[in-house]
C-alpha cells in the first residue's frame, strides 16, 4: 500500500485545473471529494467537444449524426459498465445515486399499490432494514415506502465506533424482512462495511438487498457483482464525472421483474391510446432523451481513472487517509467519528472540536484555503446517535497530497486558539 510519488501526484494534479485556484489568498486545499469530486480536464474537454460537434438525437434517427451519437452513447454505457464490473444492459442511467435508490423504492411503492409483482409489493407489517449510518438518500425513500404500505423500518445499530457488523444486521432481520438497504461505506464514518457478508445473510433470509455504493465508486475498485446485492446505486459526480448522471445496477432478474417507474418515449415497443408495451432493461427505465453528453463525459472520466489505475488510487488514498486519521486524532480536543481499529477505512475523517462549532471550524479552514465539509453531511440521525449535531469532514481524492493533509492539520491545530478556547 503506497502513495503516489511527487511526480505522479504532480501529473495527476495537472489534470485538475480547479486545484490551481486560490481561495482567500491561499492555494486551494480541496478536502471535500466525498461531497463532489473535481473534474479532470481531458474528460470535460471531450464532453464539451461532443456537445459542440456531435449533438444529435439518440435512438431516434437514421441520419449519420444521430447514428453516431447513438453509437457513442452505447459505447459510453459499455465503458462505464465495464469499469464497475457490470454488463451494459444491467446498468440503468439515472440523475444521481439518490434517484437510483428512489427508482427501486418507487417500484416497490407502485407494486404495493396494486399488489403485484409480488416480489416487489410490500404489505402492512413487512419490514425494511436500514442502518444507523445511512445517508438520507438511503433512508428517506424507505420511510416513504413504509408510510404508504404500513411496512416497518428496522434500524440496524452501529457500535459507538461507528462499525456496522453482520451481527447487527442479523439482529434486526426477521421473517417479515423484505428489503435490506445499506451503504458500502458511510460518508461520515469512512469505514468499509462487510457488504458482501451482510448481503449474503440478507439474501439468505429471502430479502432484496440495496447497496448505496456512492462512497466506494472511485476510492477502490467498485465491482458491483461482488456485493451479492440485488441493486447497487452510485453517482458520477463522486467519481470525478459530471453532475446530472448516476446509475442503478441490478441483477438481470431483479431488473426484469421490477415494474417500470418513469415512462414515455424510447422505452416502448408499441403504444396504443390505452396501453403500451415496454422494452427490456435498461431501456424500460430510461424514458425520454438521454443524458447524452453526461454519459460521454463520465465514460471518458473512467477511462482516465483506468489509465492512472484504480488500485493505485485506492492505495494512495488509503495510506494518506491513515496518516490523516492519525494526525487529526493527535490534535487535542478533537473527537473523531468512526474508529480506525479493526476496520478498513477509506481516506475520510469526520470529527468534532470541543468548544468550536463545525460551521466556525469550516469558516476558519476556508480562510486558510481549505475546503472541508461541515454540517450533518445528510446523515442527521447518525450524528444524533453519536451525540453531536454536526461535524467537520476531510475527505481525500486521487489528487490529494501529504501537503494538503499537513496544511489542513496545522490549521486545525489553530482553530481553538482563534475562537478563544485554549
Amino acid at each position: 500500500m503506497s502513495q503516489f510519488t511527487a511526480e505522479q501526484s504532480a501529473a495527476i494534479r495537472a489534470e485538475f485545473p480547479e486545484l490551481s485556484e486560490t481561495v482567500n489568498g491561499h492555494p486551494l486545499v480541496y478536502l471535500d471529494t466525498a461531497a463532489t469530486s473535481l473534474r479532470p480536464r481531458g474528460a470535460v474537454d471531450v464532453e464539451s467537444e461532443f456537445a459542440l460537434r456531435h449533438t444529435a438525437a439518440v435512438n431516434r434517427g437514421a441520419h449519420t449524426l444521430a447514428a453516431e451519437a447513438t453509437e457513442a452513447y452505447d459505447d459510453a454505457r459499455a465503458t462505464i459498465a465495464g469499469f464497475v464490473g457490470s454488463r451494459p444492459n444491467q446498468m440503468v442511467f439515472t440523475s444521481n445515486a439518490t434517484e437510483s435508490i428512489n427508482l427501486v423504492a418507487l417500484a416497490v411503492r407502485l407494486a404495493s399499490a396494486v399488489g403485484s409483482p409480488a416480489r416487489f409489493a410490500l404489505r402492512e407489517g413487512d419490514e425494511i432494514v436500514v442502518t444507523e449510518s445511512e445517508h438520507h438518500a438511503n433512508l428517506v425513500p424507505w420511510q416513504e415506502v413504509a408510510r404508504q404500505t404500513g411496512a416497518v423500518i428496522r434500524v440496524a445499530p452501529v457500535t459507538d465506533g461507528g462499525e456496522l457488523t453482520v451481527h447487527a444486521v442479523e439482529s434486526v432481520l426477521s421473517e417479515r424482512t423484505r428489503i435490506v438497504a445499506f451503504s458500502s461505506v458511510s460518508n461520515v464514518l469512512g469505514i468499509t462495511n462487510p457488504t458482501r457478508e451482510i448481503a449474503d445473510r440478507a439474501r439468505a433470509a429471502g430479502t432484496r438487498v440495496v447497496v448505496d455504493a456512492c462512497q466506494s465508486a472511485a476510492h477502490g475498485r467498485l465491482d458491483v457483482e461482488s456485493y451479492g446485492a440485488d441493486f447497487v446505486a452510485f453517482s458520477a459526480h463522486k467519481m470525478y464525472g459530471p453532475t446530472g448522471i448516476g446509475a442503478l445496477w441490478g441483477t438481470a432478474d431483479a431488473l426484469a421483474e421490477m415494474p417500470v417507474v418513469l415512462t414515455g418515449g424510447s422505452m416502448i415497443t408499441r403504444v396504443e391510446y390505452d396501453s403500451s408495451d415496454y422494452l427490456p432493461a435498461p431501456a424500460k427505465f430510461e424514458p425520454g432523451t438521454p443524458r447524452l453528453t453526461q454519459a460521454i463525459g463520465w465514460a471518458h472520466t473512467v477511462s482516465y481513472l483506468d489509465t492512472v489505475g484504480v488500485d493505485a488510487i485506492a492505495a494512495h488514498e488509503e495510506s494518506l487517509g491513515a496518516e490523516m486519521y492519525a494526525a487529526v486524532a493527535d490534535i487535542p480536543h478533537v473527537t473523531i467519528l468512526g474508529t480506525d481499529t479493526g476496520v478498513h477505512r477509506v481516506g475520510l475523517v469526520s470529527f468534532a472540536i470541543d468548544g468550536v462549532h463545525p460551521h466556525d471550524v469550516g469558516q476558519y479552514l476556508d480562510s486558510r484555503g481549505i475546503a472541508a465539509r461541515v454540517g450533518h453531511h445528510c446523515a442527521q440521525p447518525l450524528h444524533k446517535r453519536l451525540g453531536v449535531d454536526s461535524s467537520t469532514r476531510f475527505s481525500l481524492g486521487m489528487y490529494s497530497t501529504v501537503d494538503d493533509v499537513a496544511i489542513a492539520v496545522a490549521a486545525l491545530a489553530d482553530v481553538r486558539r482563534y475562537f478563544g478556547e485554549s
Partner: protein
C-alpha cells in the same frame, strides 16, 4: 474576505456569554431550524402587560458562534424596546445582513450588534445570523395573535 471581519471579538464573547440563555415555562416559544447545518434555536419573546414593550428574550439552542452571538446580542440590544421599534430594528438588521457587505450596521442604532456587519459578506452565514431574529418575529406574532 477577512475572517476577522466576521469574527469580531464581541461576537466571540457573546458566543460564550449568551445573554438571555435559558427558557422559562409559558409564553409562545418559536423553534427555528437550519437544515443545512442542524443549528437550532427556541426563543420566547416576553411582552409587558399592555403588549407594547418587549421585556425579555429567552432562548436555548445550539449552533455556530454567529447564530449564538446574534441571539445574545439581540437580547442585549433589543430588550426593552417597543414592539414597533423592534420590528423596524429587525427589518434594518435583515436588510444589512442581506446587503452583501454594502450596508454597515450603524453603531449609534445597533450598538454591539454592529459587530455582526461583516456577516453580510459571507453569504452562506447570513442564515446563521438571522436564526434568532426569525424566531423572535415568529414568537412575537404568536404572542400577539393570542391576545386578539
Amino acid at each position: 474576505m477577512q475572517l476577522d471581519d466576521l469574527y469580531q471579538q464581541i461576537i466571540l464573547d457573546h458566543n460564550k456569554k449568551r445573554a438571555g440563555y435559558g427558557l422559562n415555562e409559558g409564553g409562545f416559544p418559536s423553534h427555528q431550524y437550519n437544515p443545512t447545518c442542524g443549528d437550532e434555536i427556541t426563543l420566547t419573546v416576553r411582552l409587558s402587560d399592555d403588549g407594547e414593550t418587549i421585556t425579555a428574550f429567552e432562548w436555548e439552542g445550539s449552533g455556530c458562534s454567529i447564530s449564538q452571538a446574534s441571539a445574545s446580542l439581540m437580547t442585549s440590544e433589543a430588550t426593552g424596546m417597543s414592539v414597533a421599534d423592534f420590528e423596524r430594528f429587525a427589518n434594518g438588521f435583515r436588510e444589512a445582513m442581506r446587503s452583501r457587505g454594502t450596508i454597515v450596521l450603524p453603531e449609534e442604532e445597533f450598538g454591539d450588534l454592529a459587530a455582526l456587519s461583516g456577516v453580510s459578506k459571507f453569504v452562506a452565514r447570513v442564515k446563521c445570523a438571522m436564526l434568532a431574529w426569525v424566531a423572535a418575529e415568529d414568537s412575537l406574532l404568536l404572542t400577539q395573535e393570542s391576545r386578539n
